[in-house]
Symmetry: C2
Subunit: 210 residues, 2 copies
């Protein structure tokens, strides 16, 4: 996995900065100092300045950061200034939830199609998004410039299909299957392992002093 110079710790925090800056913009705030922001976000001002300086000098001494400018710059880093075409592979409840979540579109993530092996659901539409046969997936990816596949298949199918998706030209996989995909290093995999998340919650419930 070809790592860029920026540490994953920093990258993980970027979307949260983006969210807070978006809220500041909505509330009409024009400028903000790392110190003010640090209080809102419950992190150190030092960390904010260090994080941002990984990407260049977004602020100005004596003034702070211009909210709208910083928001837009972080947006560019996160790629939300571009359009990303997505397919959802697996039309179970989770797949449907993703297809239904219109908010992603505001950030440029557009679900163009869904795929499933189950004959019964093929042909149905969800929020105008067609469920198609897996047989059509290669053609569809190529014709529609699909970049990202949300993978919501059961674990026993996920690994095999993921490899195919890569063959067909998918560049990133949003993996909801409870499995670690091993794919070529140029393929981006972002895991959402809900059951692991729930177990962490359970761990903390169990251990918490109270």
């Amino acid at each position: 996995m070809a790592k860029s110079g920026i540490s994953t710790a920093v990258i993980k925090r970027l979307p949260r900065y983006y969210r807070y800056l978006g809220e500041l913009m909505e509330s009409g705030t024009e400028r903000i100092s790392s110190n003010e922001l640090s209080k809102m976000m419950n992190v150190t001002a030092s960390q904010i300045r260090q994080d941002l300086n990984n990407f260049g000098g977004f602020g100005q001494q004596g003034y702070g950061y211009n909210v709208e400018y910083l928001y837009n710059e972080i947006g560019k880093l996160l790629g939300v200034d571009r359009r990303h075409n997505i397919i959802v592979v697996g039309s179970g409840h989770l797949g449907q939830a993703i297809a239904n979540y219109a908010n992603f579109e505001r950030r440029g993530f557009v679900v163009k199609g869904m795929f499933d092996n189950n004959e019964d659901v093929i042909g149905r539409e969800i929020r105008g998004i067609r469920i198609m046969s897996m047989d059509d997936i290669e053609r569809f990816i190529k014709d529609n410039h699909i970049e990202i596949a949300a993978l919501t298949l059961p674990k026993h199918e996920a690994a095999r299909i993921a490899e195919k998706l890569v063959d067909y030209g998918i560049r990133g996989i949003w993996n909801f299957a409870h499995i670690d995909l091993s794919l070529p290093g140029n393929i981006v995999v972002e895991n959402v392992h809900l059951s692991e998340s729930l177990m962490r919650l359970s761990y903390n419930l169990t251990t918490r002093g109270k």
Copy 2:
């Protein structure tokens, strides 16, 4: 937030150990060394030994780790040897997906009810799970020993309802709303911010050398 002595980095890895050990058990493997496991999981053997030794000596010199024993011990740490009653608050597509995911039950996480403000859906059932009015939520939590609430409400409602849930006795919140909840320190919050996950994927797609 009263932190236990174990670092969050270690805790985050526990469910993954648990998953691999479960697979080893299924495949009939009786014992495993930290070195073998490290190769399977793509981590260092040193890290595995350090992680496990946070909780006590689960292994044996010259032998390694007994798979079933270690699996069960980590299971206890993660609290999957106990039953956790859950409610889903917000019956949108994501809430329904959670209610429908029967696999959680195998780990002791049982969804006992769903709640919504929308009159149109109240009374409906999903996999035998009743959607009820928010007005009944306090009673239900108390009568059914509900420990965890999965919060799948829109962000503008989430903060207010979360506070109420805490008043009613909820101990852990599985938060799918795009907001940082600020709740008393004895309440466990586990965030699943899907839009942030998608942005990280997008960041990596954008930056990846390729």
